[in-house]
């Protein structure tokens, strides 16, 4: 399944690309993508892993970029 996150305050395209790769490398993430223009981050994972994966993703973003506010969209 797929979930969307909104990354408010994401203001650097270069970091967005790097962040995308970091998220993709997380355990349990099947696929992920960050759209710098719509500020949306899509995360794909198996249904049973979804909640855990989302938690990990949010944690990663918070740690790497404290200026970004992550919201569930």
């Amino acid at each position: 399944m797929k979930r969307m996150l909104k990354l408010e305050g994401l203001d650097c395209a270069d970091c967005a690309a790097k962040l995308e790769n970091r998220i993709k490398a997380l355990d349990g993430v099947v696929n992920a993508g960050i759209n710098f223009i719509t500020l949306k981050c899509s995360v794909e994972a198996l249904d049973k892993d979804m909640e855990d994966v989302l938690e990990k993703v949010v944690k990663l973003i918070n740690a790497e970029h404290p200026e970004i506010k992550v919201k569930r969209a």
């Binding site: 305050g9 203001d11 650097c12 395209a13 270069d14 690309a17 790097k18 696929n31 993508g33 759209n35 710098f36 223009i37 719509t38 500020l39 949306k40 899509s42 790497e64």
Partner: protein, 646 residues
Amino acid sequence: MNENQKKMLGNIIISAVLFIAALIMKKMSYIYKDGELHILTGFYMALFAASYIVVGFPVLKKAFYNIRKGRVFDENFLMGVATIGAFGLREFAEGVAVMLFYTVGEFFQSMAVNKSRKAINELMDIRPDSANLKSDDGSVRTVDPYDVNIGDIIVVKPGERIPLDGQVIKGESMLDTSALTGEPVLRRASSGDNVLSGSINTDGVIDIEVTKEFSDSTASRILDMVENAASKKSASENFITKFAVVYTPLVVGAALIIAILFPLFDPGHNFLLWLSRALTFLVVSCPCALVISIPLSFFGGVGASSRLGVLVKGSNYLEALAKTEIAVFDKTGTLTEGVFEVTEIIPDEKSGILDEKGLLETAAYAEYYSSHPIALSIKKAYIRYRHENGLDESIDETRLSDIKEISGRGLNVKLDKKNVLVGNAGLMKKYSIFEKEPDTQPGTVYVAVDGQYGGCIVISDRIKKDSPYAVSELKKLGIKHTVMLTGDGINTAKSVGEEIGIDEVHAGLLPGDKLDRLEELLEKKQKDKNLVFVGDGINDAPVLARADIGIAMGGLGSDAAIEAADIVIMTDEPSKLAVGIRLARRTIKIANQNIVMALGIKILVLILAVFGIANMWWAVFADVGVTVLAIFNSMRNLNIKSYCQD
């Protein structure tokens, strides 16, 4: 302007004032050089420091943070090194100015990004975020459209967008569906009509019974598709992503070589000179211009084409579309209406046994139990004839008996005890009605009664008005090879092909043959060019999948078509293919312009910096200035009004 930008602007103004004050003091300190005003030197140094800290602190803070995370090749860090390095070379004014100018550039960049985000949002603003839910007692309240269920009644007032797909149950109005189809035409919708979310209600109030949940409704699906398109990256985007990874280390490496190795070979061994040139390199080390503008061009292209009625499911498909060489069309339902109609009724004058009415009646009765599209069209024509003449529309089945189907040829029935044959020319020959097959179109049904020929009915599939235009538009775009595939006989197919202007016609194909023909065509095309197949998406899924780009027509409401295709044309106009190709080409052009401009300016500044011609000011322009220019260039792609002129 958001909080962040306001803060940035504030910092810029304060820093600029301090910087100008420092410059004035510096000039004065020269005038009074030997005088008593030595104190001015200390004073302007303090002002420079203050000016630097105001704009530099946020940058240095980010740099420090990133280094702790192990990100050395970070723009902020490199900018910090470059400016502090300038201080080390006692070029105080330049160090401050570079940081100030860089922040100004970042500010403009942030504004430009915001502006393009806003433009994209406007383009994508086809889905309302509220719905007027009508309860059983007739009262209406505004709710979140996610909370509306199938079967609920919603009210849409004039000027509002329809939030969920449904069926009109009360009222009548003209709907503007241009956001979905790209056509500026109004459609009337009244009780019983299905309406799609994203359309604008222009005049009357209508009540709609919801048939799809919000997330499954057309507007949501279009938005999902456009947003997901960005995840299927084009080759240009992939190139930029890979390039970005090596670019910064490469430029920083070059800077190190210039700072350390060049002075060794320089007769004067001027370390400071080469250090200052190396620092200029660091300022140009961010690939930001490309990383932002290329995806923006593609996303803009996908967004703009969706507003013109062409849904592209990935940036890669948009890119591929620009390189179309062969355009293959399915005939029925794509180039033609896909609706068979009786176009001529020709009784045989020699035998005179049937008149026009009798001929149609006989054929309609004989075909009564058949569900073949040709049979349906004859029955439809018969019912319309009776209706127009005020006659009872029902068919009296008791007149029929002994129905025999003659496979692939037609039918043999008893009607009012008479022996009736209805079918193609082969059937007539088999029963020796004709001595030889007449020279007519294959879509013709012949009728014989008690062994005597009674006449024929001509059935054909109307060509879409848009089809000849579609082919001529493709020719204008330089697509020389257009092909039509059909299961029809060669005569019909040829005449349809000629009327439309198509180059190559393959007729008499079974569904499996279509795939074989496509393979042959794929062999013929040039390697780096693409073959596009346009079909209705229902019967030709394997062909859609095999083509370089599979395009389904009339996608609105057809889930199967949307699933199978790479691109969905939302109206039933084949000419939208040309619209899509134009937009795709514009997108590629803009993306290439940005790549050439950004890389060109950066490389030029790097070369000039080696020779000491370009200083840090040039470098800041090559960094943030180019980014802003590239963003503005990309935004041209969002303009859907001007697409034809490119």
